[in-house]
């Protein structure tokens, strides 16, 4: 099946995007799995000849937003502080993939979600501005301003402006 094969070929990149959105290996793979399942279920909505990668990134990003909203609701119901404490500090889960959180990871964590996803699409995944704006369904001016602010923050955190 060409569709499955193409998705399989995209999988390493999709994992990377999932990882930059969720900042956690296990969450990233959960997100990947949910995205693949969604894609297989909605395969009729993908138009042959259009870019499968953009379509998949859009699915993944929208699922992630749903997840974030659900988590926000949960944390508001329970302990609001919980989310902040848990981030990047879950030793068990981090061992699942050989990616150190490191300075880059910590700097990415400090970004607001809306800047992080733009950074991930353009600087990590290598999409052009227009492509990234289409995936996120935002005007290109919004994209460039988020990208610029996110980037300046990262450069400051990582000390590369020095």
């Amino acid at each position: 099946m060409a569709f499955e094969r193409d998705l399989l070929a995209l999988l390493p990149r999709l994992r990377r995007f999932a990882m930059s959105l969720s900042r956690d290996a296990a969450d990233g793979d959960d997100l990947c799995q949910a995205s693949i399942e969604r894609a297989l279920k909605s395969r009729d909505q993908w138009q042959a000849g259009t870019r499968l990668d953009s379509w998949m990134y859009r699915i993944m990003r929208n699922l992630w937003i749903d997840e974030v909203r659900a988590r926000t609701r949960r944390s508001q119901t329970f302990v609001a502080e919980d989310a902040g404490l848990a981030v990047g500090n879950d030793g068990d889960r981090q061992t699942e993939m050989a990616v150190e959180i490191g300075n880059v990871g910590r700097a990415m964590e400090k970004l607001p979600d809306e800047q992080r996803e733009v950074i991930a699409l353009v600087l990590v995944e290598g999409f052009a501005y227009r492509e990234a704006a289409e995936i996120l369904d935002i005007p290109i001016g919004t994209l460039t301003s988020r990208l610029c602010r996110g980037r300046e923050a990262l450069i400051v955190h990582l000390g590369e402006a020095a």
Partner: protein
Amino acid sequence: MTIDPETLMAYADGELDAVSAKRVEKAITAQPELAAQVAAHRALRATLADHFAPVVEAPLPDRLTALLDDRVVPFQPAPRKATVFQVRNLAAMAAALVMGLLLGQVVSLGGSATVGTRQGALVAQGDLAKTLDMQLASTQPADAATRIGLTFRDREGHVCRSFESPALSGIACRAEDIWRLKRTIDGDAREMQAYRQAGSAEIIEAAQNMMAGAPMDAEAERKARQAGW
């Protein structure tokens, strides 16, 4: 000349048109600090790429690849969720097998030996080779001595066919103009009606483990024969 931060960033990313890029370049020669900012943008891109590179290079977890692999259909592990692929494959196989099994009665094979060896491997010969060469599951006579069940391609791309006869059942795959016997089930086991199901199930299972994609339908089987398997 002032260059706003977003334009400078777009320049660093190669997103500007030629005219705007020229304008930025002119400004950079006048203001060296702009060049440093461009370098910082590009360095950041490289840093992020390096940081996430291990994710792309890491082996993919089975739970993700399994969702997308329609060739390797897990059959053995007992409690399993039936995927769309499995259901479709099983239905096609069941149809082909029923056709193969139900047509005709059991008639003994011709006299000559149907199995030989070639370079240490079991191969079909005589009547069995002829049957594998010529007989189509869709048109095989009701009283065929050996019935063809499934025809499919294995993962190396070889055409394989399952066959059943009173003396011997199994799966043969075509390579270098020879039908090599990949699985065989002794005829003795088939003499008792109770074992017939077990034998068929064994062949289905073996075929499923070998199969790349779905089994051939009547049309594909005919074309494969035309092409000399």
